[in-house]
Symmetry: C2
Subunit: 463 residues, 2 copies
């Protein structure tokens, strides 16, 4: 395990994080890392992903470990691997070495943990074995992570305060993830002219991520049916007039994520209808990024994208009326039915295990408006936040053929004009944007997004 070779400043970062936590909450906190689930039989396991709160304060993806934080002190609980396991897994670093590397104050075998659980708060993990351990050791029923209670809620709020903005160590990891994802997208574009199926593009893209010893931060979307928003199948053939939508992002070994979407023409050249819509989505994307700075409400950025898309669709003759009115009646959501983006960090939807507790400012809840309800982030922006900006245009049959929606928007859509855009099923352009004191820094800026640049990349295949 190369676990301990990098990140010489990790222990300092971890110390700062737990000292900040101690300023927010006095209760001791215990975080469990969890275990890898099995894939059909016990010895065949999915690749392990540690719980993100654990990762934030422990810095390393240790399996079946726990940490206890109190007043800025860090205790590590994990077992050394058995002598037998050296035969199969090699010599792993010892608990004491890991503890020293992390800057832990003390280190114990897991069997000691029960002696240190009194009055501790925690956040429920996803895997049920570890969750049962949490309940047993804390001797109480722990509410699910998306509905924490009492001291656990206090802890969750304190953790959110920390994780909402990123320190230098986090930012460095996030940049690495972004940089590898950029390479994956370029490889995907350059593999397209020679590819016959979605799966081939996916293989080219994920191969790059694996080649950098990273994993995918989420299940890739690589499809010529971008209108299926969460399409996780890769079975379609590519046709020359298709657009290919690829939403693919890497995550570093320590769990920091990236999240990029590009949409490109399979034959290396947009049709004029595809190009019109592409440029519109890009205009919305650019305007949103332009608007990002501390203090701005993220929902305002969402609404700006809605307005630009509505306005553009009027100019293209697809929508009719006044853009402000159209957005107020959610007509934009016929074609842009999701939110403009979300928090990004250790999770691709950062801290979504906590429900909307991280994404929504205290006192705010999801709107029931068709055009706002899917917004995952509704807070004023702060310097140090990382968000995605990902406007899109889709022709989703389930929406456009929906009887009530169709009736409601019958008169604001020019349906026959729309039918001329049949070759535009789904377009999304997504970048990862760091909020700085002065505005926005696009971590994924090295990946082209202008139509002409995209065409050039696709048209220059690599062998």
């Amino acid at each position: 395990m190369q676990l301990l070779e990098k990140n010489s400043t990790l222990s300092q970062t971890l110390k700062q994080r737990r000292e900040k936590l101690a300023q927010l909450i006095e209760t001791p906190a215990i975080f469990w890392s969890g275990i890898a689930p099995s894939r059909n039989f016990p010895a065949n396991r999915y690749s392990f992903r540690a719980n993100s709160h654990f990762l934030y304060f422990a810095g390393l993806p240790l399996e079946n470990a726990a940490i206890r934080l109190e007043k800025g002190k860090l205790d590590l609980f994990m077992d050394d691997s058995s002598p037998d396991s050296a035969l199969w897994h090699g010599e792993l670093p010892k608990r004491d070495e890991i503890a020293a590397f992390m800057g832990a104050d003390r280190a114990y075998p897991l069997s000691e943990l029960p002696a240190y659980t009194a009055h501790a708060a925690t956040i429920a993990v996803g895997d049920s074995k570890t969750y049962q351990q949490q309940c047993q050791l804390l001797n109480r029923i722990i509410s699910p992570a998306n509905a924490p209670q009492g001291i656990d809620l206090d802890l969750a709020k304190a953790v959110i305060t920390l994780r909402l903005t990123h320190d230098r160590t986090a930012l460095s990891e996030l940049r690495q993830a972004a940089s590898v994802s950029v390479k994956a997208h370029i490889a995907g574009m350059q593999a397209t002219l020679k590819a016959k199926t979605e799966a081939e593009i996916r293989g080219a893209m994920e191969g790059v991520i694996l080649s950098h010893n990273m994993q995918c931060a989420y299940n890739s979307i690589v499809t010529v049916h971008g209108e299926v928003l969460h399409n996780e199948h890769y079975g379609h053939d590519l046709h020359p007039n298709d657009l290919l939508l690829a939403d693919v992002g890497a995550e570093t070994e320590n769990g920091w994520a990236s999240d990029i979407t590009r949409t490109w023409p399979v034959k290396g050249k947009f049709s004029s209808t595809q190009r019109d819509i592409y440029d519109l989505v890009l205009a919305a994307h650019d305007a949103c990024i332009e608007k990002i700075r501390p203090g701005v409400e993220y929902q305002e950025i969402h609404l700006l994208a809605c307005f630009i898309i509505a306005q553009g669709l009027i100019e293209l003759g697809i929508l009719k009326g006044d853009p402000t009115n159209l957005v107020e009646m959610d007509a934009h959501a016929l074609f842009f039915p999701h939110g403009i983006g979300h928090l990004l960090g250790l999770d691709v939807h950062d801290m979504e295990d906590l429900g909307d507790l991280a994404g929504y400012e205290r006192g705010r809840t999801r709107s029931d408006r068709f055009g706002l309800g899917y917004l995952r982030l509704n807070r004023p922006l702060h310097s140090g936040m990382l968000v995605t900006i990902e406007p899109g245009f889709y022709q989703v049959p389930a929406i456009l053929n929906h009887r009530e929606l169709r009736a409601k928007y019958e008169k604001v859509v020019n349906w026959s004009r729309l039918s001329e855009f049949a070759d535009v099923r789904g377009i999304r352009i997504e970048d990862d944007v760091f909020v700085t004191e002065f505005g926005a820094e696009v971590l994924t800026a090295s990946l082209p997004n202008k139509a002409q640049d995209i065409e050039n990349l696709v048209s220059q295949p690599r062998d």
Copy 2:
């Protein structure tokens, strides 16, 4: 979902399988497919892998579904996706279409299942949510899959009888998995001269598997430290004198696995010591395959490999004494500490969820001998079985530096001669072998394994 586009003979195959099952057991059987585990937060899921027994009788990787088999009849229980989910996941095939494609006799929503569970046997699945459902619906505590009781044990035995040998549909899927894995290994070899890290080779290999719209059947081993038998890290740099060991296999969309290992020199040329050991491991491999035919005990094949390795190590001056005696005292296991192979089918260790129930002939149990205890299969071979043959040679520090083992084998090892083979840390050669009436058919035969051919492949890099 392209679920229903292939496999036009699937329904006939499924009918044959359940009619055979009905000949072995009268009790109705219910199999659950399970659900995908989450990766840190609910919406971020690992890719779904259906339970293998479900797959065997249902043929399709349907999530959160159940099938009931009785007297050759098949009932499917699953819910159609909600209208809302069409927005996110597109229009999925309906339960009735799926049922028709499978040749199910009846199809119901999941809510109907409780009415059909009386007196049914089952096999416990791995994910705990589904397992709880199984217990609740059958109204009893179901023993873990590796220790089934009562009617569940009867069912497990019947299923094993079927799954031990493969029908034509299964074989066709197994061939596809093998063929894609062969391409992945060739890509790995051809990527090596230009690669600097293990991760790059892994990326090249798994990229090929993904490009064919398959997944990995298990976590790949791609390492210059082949002596770490279950090394699942990819962080080492490649050095010119290293051997790279790659144990990588694809699995088809319907879950049928392959399992191939090759070992190649990073610079395209074995050293003389590497070549000597490579040729010895290959000799053991070839002799084992030569010996395969119906009626032969798999343990005899294991012991043949042990003998050939012992004999070869004597010839190389590493071991001293008589090969038969050396094998009897397990001296071969100093360098070949695992079994010669295992069953292969829907699982890479087929039916290992049932513990040794499938791998070991009734009445047999694991040996406690150092050189036999890791054998996963101990049965006479039958026509229609698929097994791996995977001899190896490793210098495992945890073994060679183990005080008791070192003392026990002090006199049969020429330790100074062994030190001349320091550049041979781990070699394994693994192929997938189908047992036919007349002998063996190697499903992975199109992948070269002779030292010279391997060198040639590595030395001809692709751009």
